[in-house]
């Protein structure tokens, strides 16, 4: 895609780039599995919007109409040791633009493989844990990257994370600081993620705030802003309710909303998922 396209088409490609599924897979609350155990999860997310940030200016109802994205994510985690967990995530994404052009795309997005290691833990009642994680995010298929309804950026990225987690009684708070070494012309980024929650018997409630920072890159509308060189930023909040129906099966519902951003969509999403420990 080049800057010669209309700004609304350029914007569309931008807002549908780094998908929710892939980002959620790389944000961490410090989860580390027990040795020899793991879990599989499947989650479905439905998100849509008709407003986006062109640069930092919010624009309503571009000519392409409402954008929708439905994603089905497959997740697997396994404890290699009590301190080292490997996770794999693969989302399948379906995008649609309701307006002019009728752009659409269906494909697997990016495979995310992360290794998460508990670096240090201290305390018995108030428990502090420091976790480090590193991984790779790479396209799982040769999906299109020049369609306004792209499912992803098409870049291979190195993901680095440090997470601090504090557990006290039924409560916890986790703070992630990350650095994404982006491939190609995509600018490097800093993903910040804060999650807090409480366990109430079989039910767990959690909320999160994520902030995605990039300090270079182009703005939509500039004379030359080839995809995916844009400076993407956003502030997003969300929450999740998890219900452990049995020891072998749990379900969750979740929602999120983008508060602010730059070269991204002002989207709202809802989802549900199942988790099966083994």
């Amino acid at each position: 895609m080049s800057g010669s396209r209309g700004p609304s088409l350029v914007a569309l490609a931008i807002v549908l780039t780094l998908g929710t599924a892939a980002l959620e897979a790389s944000d961490s609350n410090g989860y580390v599995s027990l040795k020899g155990m793991g879990g599989v999860g499947i989650s479905y997310t439905d998100e849509g919007f008709d407003q986006f940030f062109m640069g930092q200016a919010q624009v309503s109802r571009p000519g392409v109409g409402t954008l929708t994205r439905k994603s089905l994510s497959f997740w697997l985690g396994y404890g290699v040791t009590d301190d080292l967990t490997v996770t794999v995530n693969l989302p399948y994404i379906r995008t649609r633009a309701s307006g002019t052009g009728g752009y659409k795309e269906n494909d697997f997005q990016d495979l995310v493989v992360m290794g998460t290691r508990r670096l240090y833990a201290t305390g018995r009642v108030a428990r502090s844990t420091f976790v480090g994680a590193a991984g790779i995010r790479t396209p799982a298929t040769n999906y299109s990257v020049d369609n306004p309804a792209d499912v992803g950026d098409g870049t291979t990225d190195l993901l680095l994370r440090i997470i601090y987690r504090l557990n006290y009684r039924n409560y916890y708070i986790a703070q992630q600081v990350g650095y994404d070494v982006r491939g190609g012309i995509a600018p490097d980024s800093i993903p910040l993620y804060t999650e807090a929650g409480v366990g109430l018997g079989r039910v767990s409630l959690s909320g999160f705030f994520s902030k995605y920072l990039t300090w270079e890159g182009t703005d939509i509308g500039e004379p030359f802003s080839p995809f995916p060189s844009n400076r993407e930023e956003w502030d997003r909040i969300g929450g999740k309710v998890y219900f452990a129906a049995t020891d072998r099966f749990g379900v969750s519902v979740a929602a999120f909303h983008v508060l602010n951003g730059r070269n991204t969509g002002k989207n709202t999403g809802f989802g549900f998922g199942v988790f099966i420990p083994f």
Binding site: G30, Y31, V88, Y92, N170, V198, G199, A244, D247
Partner: protein, 153 residues
């Protein structure tokens, strides 16, 4: 949609392989019953607890004693016969079932399992030194310096 099911099938195959590995590891669980005693610090005013309450302490469903002191449960090694007995008798499920419980709690970020100590003596030393602590030891272990709780149905 065929590709979706292909991806799902790939994940399921990977999970099944890991499940099989886990089952092999789980097969090492001891099959002998070792009677246990639940112990707390001598300053703890509690004299007896129902089994469900003991389970709640070790699953962190109950996190404070009546006087507000934080509960500090300590567990035994997964290969210890006394843990096997305790798990089945108190939690009503084998060690593997408790591990699955913790998998979900850890996945949601809610909490982490109790500290694991590798012997009765280590559990005794921990409980003696910490007012909020609760643990369990083999019945034939000397329990000087700690209080033994009566566990009722």
């Amino acid at each position: 949609m065929g590709r979706v099911w292909g991806g799902a099938a790939l994940m399921v195959c990977m999970a099944l392989g890991l499940v099989a590995t886990g089952s092999i590891l789980a097969a090492a669980a001891p099959d002998t019953d070792v009677p246990y005693r639940v112990i707390v610090h001598p300053a703890n005013p509690i004299e007896s607890l129902q089994k469900d309450d003991v389970s709640d302490l070790f699953l962190r469903k109950r996190t404070s004693w009546e006087d507000g002191t934080s509960v500090d449960p300590v567990d035994q090694s997964e290969v210890a016969p006394v843990r096997h007995t305790f798990s089945v008798d108190v939690h009503g499920k084998p060690v593997g079932g408790v591990r699955r419980y913790w998998q979900q709690r850890m996945f949601t970020g809610g909490d982490v399992p109790p500290q694991v100590l590798d012997s009765d003596q280590a559990v005794l030393a921990h409980v003696r030194a910490n007012e909020g602590a609760v643990g369990y030891v083999s019945e034939d272990t000397s329990v000087d310096g700690v209080k033994v709780l009566e566990v009722v149905e």
